[in-house]
């Protein structure tokens, strides 16, 4: 499972991209985030509040209850501010 972080989520986790293998019971974005929080203080800080966090699964906007699997690319980032 490939993870990407953008903007202040990248800064707080200290990571822009990583490949992880969470347990089999991690089947949604929400479950993934719960699991990520346990990986260290940077993650716990980054994911303390999910309200300002958006998610994309395989480069499409998705919801926290979206299903995910080992081959997916999951991105976590704040609301977009382009243009």
């Amino acid at each position: 499972m490939k993870l990407l972080y953008f903007a202040w989520l990248k800064q707080r986790t200290g990571i822009s991209e990583e490949t992880v293998s969470p347990p089999d019971d991690v089947r949604t974005v929400a479950a993934l985030v719960d699991w990520l929080r346990l990986r260290g203080p940077g993650y716990a800080d980054a994911f303390a509040d999910l309200r300002p966090i958006r998610v994309a699964v395989n480069q499409e906007f998705a919801a926290f209850d979206s299903a995910i699997g080992p081959d997916d690319e999951i991105a976590l980032f704040p609301p977009v501010t382009g243009g």
Binding site: A7, W8, E60, F77, P78, P79, T81, G82, G83
Partner: protein
């Protein structure tokens, strides 16, 4: 111009506004109007001086998101050409950030399409801005005004075209 008449580019380099606008209607004498919008880096934002801005994006998803927004615009209005160029990287006040161009037989479709593209791009394309201010760097927060601007197109797909086709 691609065969579909939609140009999407995400790049660090500046762009040539006149050339891009000309290309959208080039060789299409049925086009009567071309609408364009250029977004620029402002030297002040949220009351603070901005010395520079860095645009981060999600390579791969950005192009897909912009192509989807362009396709949505083309499904709503009879557009003969669409061009979206969006920069990333570090930019200074006055620098160009984004260009959106639409061409159509009639001006209302061009105007509506152009504005729709900007509104949706602001809320649906994965870009993030970091500003350099006297108090340090800060990530730009999403604006609720931008959400409302994007949402007005859900309630009324083509509000002004209906009045003056």
């Amino acid at each position: 111009m691609s065969p579909s008449g939609t140009v999407i580019r995400v790049q660090e380099a500046d762009f040539d506004v006149g050339a891009e606008i000309a290309a959208v209607s080039d060789g299409q004498p049925s086009v009567g109007g071309v609408a364009a919008f250029v977004g620029l880096v402002r030297d002040i934002a949220g009351g603070a001086a901005v010395a520079a801005m860095t645009l981060e994006h999600y390579p791969g998803m950005t192009e897909k998101a912009l192509a989807a927004i362009a396709a949505e615009a083309r499904s709503r209005w009879p557009l003969d050409g669409v061009c979206i160029v969006h920069r990333f990287g570090r930019l200074l006040p006055g620098d160009r950030i984004v260009l959106v161009v639409t061409a159509s037989a009639h001006r209302d479709a061009a105007f509506d399409g152009c504005r729709f593209l900007m509104d949706w791009l602001k809320t649906k394309a994965p870009f993030w801005k970091r500003e350099e201010t006297p108090d340090g760097d800060r990530w730009v927060a999403a604006r609720s005004d931008d959400d409302r601007a994007a949402e007005r197109w859900l309630a009324t797909p083509a509000p002004l075209s209906e009045k003056a086709p």
